[in-house]
């Protein structure tokens, strides 16, 4: 398989695999995401994300350079998702793209700094902080965990597995939170007890990343 490599880098093919994994997780859980969103939002997160990822996966057959690929992914999400997750995921991937370089291999360090750039983009776009019951509550611990693992010399597979686990814990933590951003914030205290749909899809993003790097 072309995505096997020994120097711990991730190939563009691996990153495309990540998008496929993410797309199929979103597609499989479309109804669940929409159910979560119907409790506290506008009941469109699942269908919006599935529409966006379908559009994305139609464009990655011939990936080319890493930075151009993910810039295109971001733009596609921006123009096809419809809800707030369009600009948010779009920003994530567009900022993620900037640190990847124009090659077809991405070093662990570049991947980590790109993920951090994506997270910073999401935070500045949505102006959400930790604890606001948003995708940031899953994405922040995931990126922190991957940064820590890579810094202590773990493989990308182990690091992204730790990232996925951290994202899951972050996702769980949103249940008890009161929403302070997005449509759910209008519900105030009534948003408590519901898991945030954005944190849920973000967990899929990191589970997909771990799955695509598993065994690499």
């Amino acid at each position: 398989m072309g995505r096997v490599n020994t120097n711990q880098s991730a190939s563009v093919a691996t990153l495309v695999e990540w998008l496929h994994q993410f797309g199929s997780l979103v597609e499989q859980n479309k109804g669940y995401l929409t159910d979560l969103d119907s409790a506290i939002g506008d009941a469109d997160h699942g269908s919006n994300m599935a529409r966006g990822m379908t559009a994305v996966l139609n464009q990655v057959a011939d990936p080319g350079a890493a930075d151009a690929l993910f810039k295109k992914v971001g733009m596609t999400l921006v123009s096809s998702v419809g809800g707030a997750s369009g600009p948010l995921y779009g920003t994530f991937f567009m900022r993620f793209a900037t640190g990847l370089g124009d090659g077809t291999e991405v070093t662990p360090e570049a991947l980590v700094s790109s993920l951090r750039a994506g997270l910073d983009g999401v935070i500045s776009r949505g102006k959400a902080e930790l604890g606001d019951k948003t995708m940031v509550d899953a994405m922040t611990p995931a990126v922190v965990a991957i940064e820590g693992s890579v810094a202590s010399g773990e493989s990308l597979a182990d690091a992204t597995r730790a990232g996925a686990e951290a994202a899951r814990r972050g996702r769980e933590s949103t249940i008890a939170m009161v929403a302070r951003k997005g449509r759910a914030s209008y519900l105030g205290e009534r948003s408590k007890g519901h898991q945030d749909p954005g944190a849920t899809s973000t967990t899929y993003l990191f589970e997909a990343l771990a799955a695509s790097l598993d065994g690499v």
Binding site: V78, G86, L88, I175
Partner: protein, 800 residues
Amino acid sequence: MTVALVGVVVVSHSRRLADAAVELAMQMVHGDPPPIRIAAGMPDGGLGTDATAVMEAITAADAGAGVVVLVDLGSAVLSAEMAVELLDDSAPDLRVVPAPFVEGLLAATVRAASGATLDEVALEAARSLTPKLQALGAGPGPESVDTDDDWHADSFDEATLPNPAGLHARPAATVASEAAKYDAEVRLIHHRGGSVPATTPIGLATLNARMGDDLRVEARGPQAAEAVAAIIAMIRGGFGEIDPNAQPPAAPAPAQPLGVSAGRVVGQVHKLTEPMTAPPEHDRVPANAVDAEIATLGGALSAVIDEYRRRAELSAPQAADILQATATLAGDSTLVDAAAGLIRARGMDAPNAFWQAANHVAQSMTDVGGMVAERAVDLADIRDRVVSHLLGIPMPGVVDPGHPFILVARDLAPSETATLDGNTCLAIVTAEGGPTSHTSILARSMGIPAVVGCSRALDIADGTVVLVDGRTGEVIEDPDEDQRAGARTSRAPLRPLEAPGRTADGTPVSLLANVGSGGNATFAARANAEGIGLFRTEFCFLDRAVEPSVSDQVQAYSEVLGAFPGAHVVVRTLDAGSDKPMAFLPMPEEPNPALGVRGYRTSRTHQPMLERQLDAIVTASTASGTDGWVMAPMISTAAEAHDFAALARSRGVTTVGVMIETPSAALQAADILSEVDFVSIGTNDLTQYCMGVDRQAVGLGDLQDPWQPGVLRLLKIIGDAGRASGKPVGVCGEAAADPTLAPVLIGLGVSSLSMSPRSLQSVAEALSEVTVEQCRAAADAAVAATTASGARDAVRAALA
């Protein structure tokens, strides 16, 4: 030279919302509009925003003067910001404005059309919420320009604002665009203070000028005089808008307790529990306690189901069926499984799990629509009972405490008032509401004394003994013996009619009931009423914001007709207006609505609504097998009677009548009876209009008296016309329930009396003691009297 205008970009989730908002804004534009571009919705027509579309809209809206971007919510903001970032260096000068969507768009469009700069347009939009904040008492005062500047007016004049709605957005926009046409600096000054440039609509709106306020227009510059003259003319002319569709203001809550339904009673306070809200949050149920939590839920559910079954056994057949069905619904495994699933999967506690599960099932039922959707209400009842049981708190709503009580509440929903049992509810006291609130209207119709606007009512503890006087508005806690004098402590028992109404010599007099709902009709049937003399259809729909569908109407009317199979039932078409405003039948603002558009007069503007009601009555008559007679309220002329009869007959009504409530109709009774099959006299309104005394006027009780000779003589004219035509004449006002007046009415030629079911037997007894001959003598004596008390004395003497 044409100056480039600032462009406006509208970003919304919904294309329809954006189109409508732009339409609204364009109404305010006089002259050339600025370039406006919409980026709203998804290509497939769904809801959503697209940053690339926003980007394109910004580029297209830019005419060289910059662009302001208005956004609705959530992702619209994100997409707009994203678009700005995507445009990067190629972006025109632009501002994403933190403004309310509709107000901001309106302000920006108007200001942009006047040729203002980008900063001026953005500022105007950003402060566009101020007039609303002020109007609702939450904002700053008018934004005055500095008073210490060297302003001097070359020209000025003053005018009084005639618009009922004041200087609101539309006139403000008109003034602003007019002011911009002149080579002059123009200011508007309000007599209470506040001075603003006339070119800013928002500034003008912050003046908060109301109808009757004086406005001073000042200007300086070459065209100062022309500008002042033009704007003064606009103000004096009311901006060409004295809005014919203005809504009447809601009746303000009275400043002090107001008696709205007469009667003096003493009883224990029973407070209406506030509506149920979501149960409080709890910690997650630990895994080892999940089974116990599910068992607790099962126990509560069983108790609630048992309670439904127990109540079903104690209820009349129709109600019993409903309660049995609700019990079955409560026992449905879907509900308990969903709740148990939430306890198991999410560690929710039982109250929260059941709350959420019931809401979820109710939503699915609502989505299905039709008959299934109507059962969603039952699910809310099940939910509230189970959750109350689990939390050990009282069930919300009116719960029968098992003894006569005085109901105290913030306010009552019409449905809550209508379900009150007049046997145990002695009186109603509400903290809110006014004389024309639904609580007041229904309380009067049910004969329950009521006081509204008693702001301290909610502070009275449950169980406190209070005296309530629904005439004076008194609410006295722990009344002493003197205060208790004359007050009832229980509801007078219902005395059912023992036999059909007859005079001593055997002449039949139909004794009928006044009702406003299926429940009332069932009660009337229990009182052995011979039929329904007045079915006030408007009481079925007082709480509707939109016109009830024909099928809803058919159902409501069938309930009443069905309670009196094959009997005499008179259905009155909607008597909206005056003291019974209805949300779905808006009336013009009138200083004296009792003399305005009410009753049949509403069909001048809403005839299709009347046609639909007639169709519903005919359908309900056919379905129930009871041929309802139909009459229209508030008829003043024979021509109106003619038109109504023609319309009703064309819709399939077999027996058509009208009410006689105006002196004009009474004087023309013979002409009216030649148009219709029967008439019914509304003595309350006939007295009001004959004597020129408002039904709600205080201190004029002696004039609000059907024994007044003027009223009695009008009744004689109607009775004579009835005898001459051989057509039925009924009375359905409070006079019909007066046992001493009843013989007089029969003597005057009335053939049926319709009243509260509680009065039937006492009126029957009075009639059974007199012959028709005596009734005629009593009538002659009454009509000959010159005072109300003289008429009473003369009748007493004639019947002695």
